[in-house]
Subunit: 187 residues, 2 copies
DNA sequence: AATACGAGACGCAACGTCTCGTCTCGCTTG
DNA sequence: CAAGCGAGACGAGACGTTGCGTCTCGTATT
């Protein structure tokens, strides 16, 4: 049995320091030593509880409640999706939030174990929520809802990753429109 | 006037060494020093001609002719897209090729200037080719072809990035089918 | 009494710059 | 036309710097 006498004070300081550093100085300057210094914490305290800076960022995001995206159900699927996709596009367009996403994505690409945690703890809840909302809509027979979810979020990631065009509200709406055309029962 | 007395021999050795290292030992071990050692070249020779390993990988890919994706035009848009998307999915599913893509993506996320070069020299040609093929198809009025292209490639990137499901031929076909439903004139 | 804590020293690896001596090319000059 | 010269790229690797992850301290907490 592990006697977890973990200091909540240090934990919070570390998570906050990580997010602050990302916002202030950007990913290249986000080092374990910088986090420890800014948090007023020994490096060992970080290594004792996390596998690396990727894990720190992940916990900071989960802790920050980014995953609590309870999407609306007004009965109008098109309108509800517009709300969600507009919010997602805005999130990716925001330089501050985008910096955090960029950091966690880099870590994710270099660490498969972390990638699975990010997927399960951060992304899946959101994707599942959208999928469930879709399942209550007028979707054509034989259409894979997972694929529809990807049809919505994939292009956003794609455009963000490749810096291949503006991430605007109009873009979000067009994306919803086209996706609806793909899977709605009444074309 | 710059008297470019650049050694083609060294250039080739460096590009080859970079790709070999990526295939053999993976991204974490892809260092400038390792590339120089494997290529039998001084580090300065790399720094003289490239901004970093990201630029080396990019040139290796461009040089390797990855961009020469001349897609077919049989008259059947659905069949042609199936061919292209199947190939793309297979590319992302292949561990060897995927390792290179992963490496260039990481570099891209950390270096905006590199990102633009990758987009313009590597990705845009392929996306443009697909867009042109689409423009010869029976697409509904008022549909943005750029968006349709993202509808095709976005989900693939999304699934690959998040490791969020298998990248199979069936997946490719379903993706094409759904995209066609979204934008074809005769629903 | 046990153990997490802040602080920081330690050896290691890769960074990017630099300084060698060598080699190769292009231009000059006899 | 050929011998010689000078600029600059080349392989090699030393150099100081930075961040890594591990390790000891003495202190603080429970």
């Amino acid at each position: 049995m592990t006697t977890t006498r973990r200091s909540e004070r240090s934990r919070r300081a570390i998570l906050d320091a990580a997010l602050e550093l990302l916002a202030d100085t950007g990913y290249p300057d986000l080092t374990i030593e910088a986090i420890a210094a800014r948090a007023g914490v020994g490096k060992q305290t970080i290594y004792r509880w996390w596998r690396g800076k990727g894990a720190v960022i992940l916990e900071a995001l989960v802790d920050g409640g980014v995953t609590d995206m309870t999407l609306p159900d007004t009965g109008d699927l098109r309108a509800d999706l517009r709300t969600v996709i507009r919010a997602t596009v805005a999130e990716f367009a925001d330089p501050k939030l985008s910096a955090t996403t960029r950091a966690i994505t880099i870590e994710t690409l270099a660490d498969e174990a972390l990638a699975e945690q990010v997927r399960d703890q951060l992304l899946r809840p959101q994707l599942t929520a959208v999928k469930e909302r879709l399942s209550r809509g007028e979707i054509r027979e034989g259409v894979d809802l997972d694929l529809v979810v990807e049809l919505l979020f994939g292009p956003i990631y794609h455009r963000w990753l490749l810096r291949n065009g503006p991430l605007t509200e109009e873009y979000a709406d067009q994306l919803v429109e086209l996706t609806m055309a793909a899977c709605l029962r009444n074309g």
